[in-house]
Symmetry: C2
Subunit: 271 residues, 2 copies
């Protein structure tokens, strides 16, 4: 038996949602788990009942729920756990990459990089190799794809030594960071990250294409700053980024033109 | 009559996609507009035909397309225009807000703020007032919602003078910035921004709730830094942010608790 959270101890919540009913039975009913994993009553009704059903007795014993209970049950501890995760990932704004910004030329951080990828998806999704793409899943992958770098740090795309154990380091980081979430969301975020890393689906291939296209674009608009700083040559740029074509043949054709122009302009060594 | 782009002038593109056919008729056929706005042939076939159909004669006259033609026609100028937009909005990373980061305590910029909002949506969408929410549209709104600040600058949430003409300034900015995109995307992005600003739909109400919840959270985790810097008091925080409840009653209840704790800890003046 599990104790339901005592909603009455939450003064502010009850000011917003005064108890409408003190019926013990009503609360028992809506918190019943559905073994099939599907709510047998419309979610609107469950949500409304729970949202206004703050009148249960403190410490009332409810049945232990099965893993798939109605998802709309309000659990203050679940929200608090999610907020701790949201505060933790604020650190992504402190992880700096080798790419520099077009105007100020300061190094870009992972959080603003991730935002730029999302914006690029909204703008360029029509150029993916598949006319029907699940854009929401592409965005989800890109929003979370660099969180592992909070622990593992950014690995420069041309850092061969760093790339050797990159996935191993990032996998440990994924365990800790996604593990801060409630278990169902740990699984969901980890599955998105694993899909992104494996590049086996149209969505992950396009997400990875955008993740490589964006730094190439910024390099080309900053006279090859990151390439010059690290002595990166044309052949390595081509080898490292050619998988863009797996996600978007059109973006890769554009990227190849950018590289040719960068070599012609002397911003990238031709080797 | 409109001239189709001369694909043969694009050397690198043709290296990737050598012309398979020089049939003028084939190209005319696939570029025919469909007045209903729906492609009468599967989009995969249109895309493939166009992708390999680079053999049309330079300057061949094609019929003027209706507004809704098949979206998969490859237009190098359209991609180039989209890329100019993507480079322009790199400036969002240089627009700094009053909120400071949890760890380094430097001011946050609009790009990383926008990423954080997306991450919060993925984590907290279950707490929206509506169990069924179009999460993709929420994300789209949040990804583009601050682009207008590239021209209009960030207006601090408690800057009464700045807020007086904020929407007017931002509307002019929206005309210029979204106007850099191809016309169909200008309309799409502008409609998303207008929806966000109007807060009339469940999606925009939840997006706006997250946009207010995140700076409150960062303020509370930095001993009220931005509030202290500007002498903001409790009553103004409540008045400015209470619309969070329109998007998520649960997040607003949580936010009210945070405010009470900040006042108790002396990080926010109680007035």
């Amino acid at each position: 038996m599990r104790r339901l959270p005592d909603l009455r101890s939450d003064r502010l919540l009850l000011e917003k949602f005064p108890p409408r009913s003190k019926s013990k039975e009503e609360i028992v009913w809506v918190s019943q788990p559905f073994p099939s994993g599907q709510a047998a009553i419309p979610p609107e009704i469950v949500a409304t009942t729970l949202r206004f059903g703050g009148g249960l007795e403190s410490g009332f014993d409810a049945p232990e729920p099965l893993p798939n209970t109605c998802a709309m049950e309000f659990q203050p501890e679940r929200l608090a756990q999610q907020v701790r995760f949201i505060v933790e990932v604020d650190r992504l704004k402190e992880i700096f990459r080798q790419t520099v910004l077009v105007n100020s030329r300061r190094r870009e951080n992972d959080a603003e990089h991730s935002w730029h990828l999302c914006l690029i998806v909204l703008t360029l999704a029509e150029h993916a190799n598949w006319p029907q793409l699940d854009v929401l899943r592409v965005l989800k992958m890109l929003i979370i794809h660099d969180l592992v770098e909070i622990d593992a740090g950014d690995t420069f795309a041309y850092d061969t030594a760093g790339m050797a154990n990159q996935h191993e380091r990032e996998s440990v980081a994924a365990d800790r960071i996604f593990g801060m979430l409630p278990a169902d969301q740990t699984r969901e975020f980890r599955a998105l990250w694993d899909e992104f890393e494996a590049r086996g689906t149209p969505e992950s291939k396009f997400a990875a294409a955008v993740d490589r296209f964006q730094p190439m674009l910024l390099n080309c608009r900053t006279e090859g700053a990151a390439w010059q700083n690290h002595g990166v040559t044309r052949d390595r740029v081509i080898a490292r980024n050619s998988h863009i074509a797996e996600g978007s043949a059109e973006l890769w054709a554009y990227a190849e033109r950018m590289v040719a122009e960068a070599v012609a302009a002397g911003h990238l060594q031709d080797a």
